[in-house]
């Protein structure tokens, strides 16, 4: 089980969280003018990075807030957590 550093609550066990998928995906707009290629990328294509991956978590059974994290998908170690809306740390 992962120990996840919620930026609001500190380290908490994984069972308190839900995973929110890849971070920094922006819904294309306006919908009527978006072509099929763009919709395909937004709806279905994911980086699925082997290495450092930016992802969303929600502390669903804690503070309830969404936040983003950088995690190495080859070790599952968290490298950084940051608040929703903030830029990805370098």
């Amino acid at each position: 089980m992962l120990l996840i550093p919620c930026p609001y609550c500190g380290n908490r066990p994984e069972i308190e969280f839900t995973h929110g998928g890849e971070a920094h995906l922006v819904r294309p707009a306006p919908p009527a003018q978006v072509d099929a290629d763009t919709w395909t990328r937004f709806l279905y294509m994911r980086e699925n990075t082997k290495g450092v991956y930016a992802e969303r978590w929600r502390h669903a059974r804690g503070c309830g807030k969404f936040f983003n994290a950088l995690r190495d998908t080859t070790t599952d170690h968290f490298l950084a957590v940051y608040k929703a809306g903030e830029a990805r740390p370098q």
Binding site: L2, E14, Y44, K50, T73, T75
Partner: protein
């Protein structure tokens, strides 16, 4: 209907230089101290050039190489494997085989595979221990009953056997099952596919490896692919590997959890996410469990191996990862369900558990297709249910590579379906791992 004619199963066509396995040869070798068994496949050095290269030495990849050589006459084929053959998801699954999928496209695909399973031991001259002992899927809610009965009817329309059982009939088929009405998720009925069952996972990889090797296929282990080289025309020219550059004009990627990593080397994006999927086995006990039981609602997947271990499948972890390990609470969740359905197993100890990395598509159906890069083909997205598809996927993938176009059975399973919206949405049909 597409032509669903089966490949010629009558002629295994193993080269003469291979020893044939038989009851007589076992007895003869046994009486003579088990001396004189040949090496089952060679350990060749990679050649500088092949007509086709398969990336990934699991059952799917080895099988594709075998069918390319056996049915399509390709002479010069290599299978490149990062680790050892059968060491990925082929050796990590719970060996369940069934074809009771909802949609017409899926039923055709998985039943094609099931029909190949039925003769695979004879075709390969290798005992893959296919055991059609029946796969029973439990219903615990009114919704389950409706969904499962819909599956039963849809399957029967497609010529796939499946039947509805009342709880007492389910108990008669699987005596350890608890059908008491007072448990948290009582058994309200079940669907039974009698042709479904299990097979020996390692033997599938070894059987295909031996048969492919006999037809001249080079199986090259410890040979990670690190790049795909494209020519000026954008077509495949060769692959960079840990053991040097290999020229080829056809590359078939069959790399399970790493498929998106390999495809990216050629600049192709595929709609995949890779998740850990775990399984575990109990200590071995005497034969008690006669079939396969699955409960999608409470996540229990269980059968008994010939060695006596209960083989239990758990769910995927919530996050994508390449670590081949998952969290304990996922296993505990499955064991909760197992202990409620089979109370007599509560005192069993679990012997070991492990994880594999499964590549999951958004609609939970696979991709077996050409790609936008000429000469590059992909067989991926089997998610949590690729083992059952091994012979069928391998056969259709080989067809696709040899003909440079899909077989009618795998024609719907393209990458483009995520662009034009023709999804084969088994996820919405089942909403769980397959």
């Amino acid at each position: 209907m597409p032509n669903l004619a089966m490949p010629n199963l009558a002629k295994p066509n193993l080269a003469k230089r291979k020893q044939r396995f038989s009851a007589f040869s076992l007895l003869w070798r046994g009486l003579s101290g088990n001396q004189g068994w040949e090496q089952q496949w060679r350990k060749p050095e990679p050649k500088p050039r092949y007509d086709a290269v398969i990336v990934g030495g699991g059952g799917h990849g080895l099988g594709a190489a075998y069918y390319l050589a056996q049915q399509h006459g390709l002479q010069n084929i290599a299978v490149l494997e990062k680790g050892w053959i059968g060491g990925g998801n082929t050796g990590r699954n719970t060996t369940i085989i069934r074809s009771n999928y909802l949609f017409n496209e899926s039923a055709a695909l998985y039943d094609h595979s099931l029909k190949l399973w039925e003769h695979l031991s004879q075709v390969l001259n290798y005992n893959v221990m296919f055991s059609p002992r029946g796969v029973m899927m439990l219903a615990h809610t009114v919704h389950d009953i409706q969904v499962i009965k819909r599956h039963v009817h849809a399957n029967r329309c497609n010529g796939v056997d499946n039947e509805w059982l009342e709880p007492a009939q389910a108990k008669a088929f699987c005596p350890p099952l608890n059908i008491a009405a007072d448990i948290r998720y009582p058994v309200l009925g079940a669907a039974l596919q009698r042709r479904g069952g299990t097979a020996r996972h390692d033997a599938v990889a070894w059987g295909y490896a031996r048969a492919a090797d006999a037809l001249g296929v080079d199986i090259i282990e410890n040979c990670e692919v690190t790049g795909i080289r494209l020519g000026k025309d954008g077509a495949v020219e060769g692959v960079e590997t840990a053991r040097g550059y290999i020229a080829t004009s056809k590359v078939g990627v069959s790399a399970a959890g790493h498929s998106s990593v390999i495809m990216r080397m050629a600049g192709v994006r595929v709609p995949l996410e890779s998740f850990p999927l775990q399984a575990l086995v109990s200590e071995p006990i005497k034969p008690i469990f006669p079939c396969v039981v699955m409960s999608n609602t409470i996540h229990a997947y269980i059968s008994q191996s010939d060695k006596g271990e209960l083989v239990i499948g758990a769910g995927t972890d919530a996050y994508n990862s390449y670590t081949q390990r998952g969290a304990l609470h996922i296993n505990m969740h499955t064991l909760d369900a197992i202990c409620e359905l089979f109370p007599e197993f509560r005192r069993l100890r679990m012997l070991r558990n492990w994880g594999g990395i499964v590549d999951v598509t958004p609609d939970r159906s696979p991709i077996v297709a050409k790609t936008p890069v000429p000469g590059l083909y992909v067989n991926c997205g089997w998610g949590t249910g690729g083992f059952k598809a091994t012979p069928g996927a391998a056969h259709l993938f080989a067809w696709t590579i040899a003909h440079d176009e899909p077989h009618p059975i795998n024609a719907p399973f393209t990458i483009e379906r995520f662009h034009d919206g023709t999804l084969i949405d088994e996820a919405a049909a089942a909403a769980v791992a397959h």
